[in-house]
Symmetry: D2
Subunit: 338 residues, 4 copies
């Protein structure tokens, strides 16, 4: 059994990791760190965790806590894993980091979008960008993975094959996406209060959401990205628009997606536009695309669960590859539906 530690065990991604690992055949959640709730029982922090695990205590992280740990899952606010990555890697443990810290290759781009200098640029080369469908081999041999963000995962899965096939102009990309509220994290604020969100739909982060940079890097694109908050807990749908480089059959983009994901256990290519609920609670993704002859554009859509394929599921999938396990161990592609 691979012994893992979770940094950020008291957040939503931490809770989802705990749920996934509770039935994982090869990876155990051995140590649980979460500074803000250190000393509390896991059952009090995560009401969905029962049984023996509920009696475990959330610990304050200290470097020597990694003794005997094979794998660290980090689900921390951005800026935090930069501080600890050296220590973690020096301990011999491998690292799957969900923060934004090691996703962007160029520390200047990081500084531009995050408004502060990167603290550990010397480590950037050690991280593989974590979307297993695109970087499977690199992840298998990686010591450190920067798991992709939620919006970028939905967008990149829908668009990358179309860019690679030369169907769309990557400089023309518009990404209009909606997320469930869990994507905003567990911090309590009026903007994510039930009364604010229920029965409401709104855009936020106009023109400057930080995931833009990650999409642009992964796709070699210029992206205008507008995130929206939808009145649901989980799920992301990215609706992507790009100028087609030429006329084509309406279903040519769909065929490109089918070819790209023919052997992927977690990505389904659909004729119809997907609903986020199809993959809610799972590590699945659904993508579709089509060409619009009226406007000369390609429309591509990707749906995931932001806490599944957009966070904890993807982290586990990466870890499975890093440790030579079955890529799908502990994961499912079937959403909790209805």
């Amino acid at each position: 059994m691979i012994r893992s530690a979770i940094l950020g065990a008291s957040g939503y991604v931490g809770g989802e990791l705990l749920r996934l690992l509770s039935r994982h055949p090869g990876i155990a959640a051995t140590r649980l760190f979460g500074d803000s709730k250190a000393g509390q029982k896991l059952g009090a922090v995560h009401p969905h965790i029962g049984g023996a695990a509920a009696a475990l205590e959330v610990e304050r992280f200290t470097p020597d806590a990694l003794d005997g740990i094979d794998l660290v899952f980090a689900a921390l606010p951005h800026g935090e894993s930069q501080k600890w990555a050296d220590t973690i890697l020096a301990s011999g443990a491998r690292l799957v980091d969900l923060g934004a810290d090691f996703r962007l290759r160029d520390p200047d781009v990081y500084a531009t979008w995050y408004g502060e200098a990167h603290q550990a640029p010397h480590l950037l080369d050690q991280f593989v960008y974590g979307i297993p469908e695109l970087h499977c081999e690199a992840i298998r041999s990686a010591r450190a993975v920067a798991a992709a963000g939620c919006y970028p995962t939905a967008t990149i899965l829908a668009c990358k094959p179309l860019v690679d096939a030369g169907l769309i102009d990557p400089k023309s990309l518009i990404v209009d996406a909606a997320s469930g509220v869990s994507g905003a994290g567990r911090g309590v604020k009026e903007g994510t209060a039930f009364n604010t969100v229920d029965g409401s739909f709104a855009a936020y982060g106009l023109l400057n959401h930080r995931h833009t940079a990650e999409m642009e890097q992964a796709l070699g694109a210029t992206v205008l990205f507008t995130p929206h908050l939808a009145p649901m807990t989980r799920g992301i749908l990215a609706t992507c628009y790009a100028t087609a480089v030429r006329e084509m059959a309406a279903d040519e983009p769909l065929k490109v997606l089918r070819a790209a994901y023919a052997n992927e256990p977690f990505v389904r290519v659909s004729d119809d536009p997907p609903a986020t609920k199809w993959v809610s609670g799972s590590n699945g993704a659904v993508v579709t695309a089509r060409y619009d002859p009226r406007t000369g554009r390609v429309l591509a859509l990707g749906a995931i669960d932001n806490l599944g394929k957009g966070a904890a599921g993807q982290m586990v999938q990466c870890a499975n590859l890093m440790f030579g396990l079955d890529e799908a161990a502990g994961l499912s592609a079937e959403g909790v539906f209805p």
Copy 2:
């Protein structure tokens, strides 16, 4: 008191009209027609209607039923008001029609998008397109108004001043919008069942939603429109993207909107992106816009209640103008919040 008849009284728009007219100082809901529920008590059809109105009976429509009626509100499936418009106008009553039948000026465009020939093209000239903020004077003197659709209203309010001011290229317009489920009408189907929609977000009608033609006509634009279904009952948010015709200050589009709506009681211009709930249950609209120097695009957003400003509220607002009443009679701009 102006005596009005409602055609389609048993649908959601009919129910909202009844709610609005129940406190309208100048227009009464005198006759209520709805073929599918003819013979039923209003209280059984609309559970929010109590008091004396609940005992009224929904009637089957017959032309002579318009005796003594000053005004007809028609909220029928498309294709239906074409059949009755001649009769209604011949009765002397004025008509506010919410169907798509008389919105498109060109019967060939109607045939292209609706897949059938128009039955009453000779009447098209008598209808004014019903967005009071844009066509106030024409509506005042109109005998017949084709009230704008829900998605077009949100889109046109956000974009029309920007087109008119020459800030954006109307051929580049992308409209990505989300609607509450009441926009799909009262017909019962699996796609709008609670279990299907709750916790889910999905696109539909890719590339060919019929409201595209209405947006294109009103804006003189080419539009790629993607509607989405959001897990909420009411509300539409239209997020619109267009290529800017030149560089400009980030807030220049916002200033154009402020100038356009300075004297409008129902349109608010907001610095921040609006949430649909701000205007839920009301006739209000909120719009905003900004220029993105990174991508050279203008982003414009419009939020309404699809049953309010997108349907029944707009119909009442048009009727108020047609009959020389206070434009805001029976209406409010304040949403039911939270």
Copy 3:
């Protein structure tokens, strides 16, 4: 025009009062007090408020601020209006208080349930308990009204006529009720975060919710009350169980309710169990009841909007009576449906 001041203008009840008064023909919201948001523009505090009102500033309350004020609406946390009631009444203004402070006749009962001594027991006699359907005449002549709480209103409207008619044993009452999340107020906490509540249903306040005392006083009953939080913003349904004092026809309780509310504009008696949405956004209430011969019990149900008939609507209704206005001025009984 009656000049009113709102204490607690920045909370949800304050926001609903503002919405109602914005179209009230006889009462204006003249001064707006809210200490925690003092100095902010109303439009920033309440996103549903637009127009000229949005530019008004929330003020810090001072006693001399009541100069020229005819009426004070107080929507404050319990314990607060005790401090100000003397001042308010001395100013000559009448007072409609939504807090719990003056609802319980006996200061000892207040101390028992609220855990602190009452600060102004000498004023208790001046307050009329504010459910207009039960105390209409007393409210008309009152200088001060303690508007009933949300759970008690739903419960009392359903049960009081049955107690008065001697059909049920008031010592046997069980009240099982569910509320929308706005009933928990605007304070931000994890228990009312969207992610906590969405898709979830839970009981809270087991055995000791403070509204128990108010129900017991109004009904002369012993009540076991269990409130629940439902994943919706507005609405309360109270499902009430009591032992019947004798065998009776199944519809005898229903007939008693019909007789009691025959002339009430805001209470509807329904054969069928009501849904909260029938009266959402309104001042309406729906009640029903029936006798169960199998178990010898009477079942009674009451549905209201907790912010409407359970708070702001009821406050306005009381004020209308106090000032001799039409009882229904500015109010509607029709819910925002769907």
Copy 4:
């Protein structure tokens, strides 16, 4: 691998069974029957099913279709499994039936509550009532199990130990419960449309819901049961009231529950009132109870996922026991949270 057939594969319970079996180590979903969708691909019927399973076809049931089948899961409308149980058992397959047909021991009670004579009373003796926590040994050796209904499961888990311990008077039981909308099944109707349910809470089935009989039988009780529909897809909370037989410590009922479920992997005993979301998407249950000295009553609560522990999860748990597998195989107790 145990080869199972699902009757009713196209319903919600069928879909949940498919999801659970997709990762079950010992039971395969070999044949899928569903008359109303016979001939359709599974992927078209259940949008959460992808991969190879999506290409399977739903079949029309015929008796010879059970050749080589070890186990039948039946999730059919009541009245249907009565017709097929003889055939199924004669085939040698074991049967886990979720319908109401074989839950009630007494065919007269069945006739009273279901309004029709039982078609196969001779088979009633062969069925064990399927709540594994109460009838584990009998289920292990059973050829046929009548899995308990959703409301009864939540109620019985909360109350049975209290009845058995003699703490409560079973003739005094009141069960007030709320369910998510998936409990109403997949049939499309206005009462379960999104627009009807969203933002609304309502009681239904007053005094005569059929699950009453099942509760009464399992608890030896007289039950007044009121079900409610909550605006959520999954989850049941049963709030149960009974007269205590004597005074006791407030936590005595809780201690009884703790003792009863000390070794059960799927039932958690909680100090705090549970939220349905704690176990959403899982086979878990959470119960709590306390004594109220003010009113002399015991309050007991039980929360489950109606499609999990209230349906498909419980069916799999029963099947695991019947075939000597790990009771928890393919199941989890951790809810999908948030």
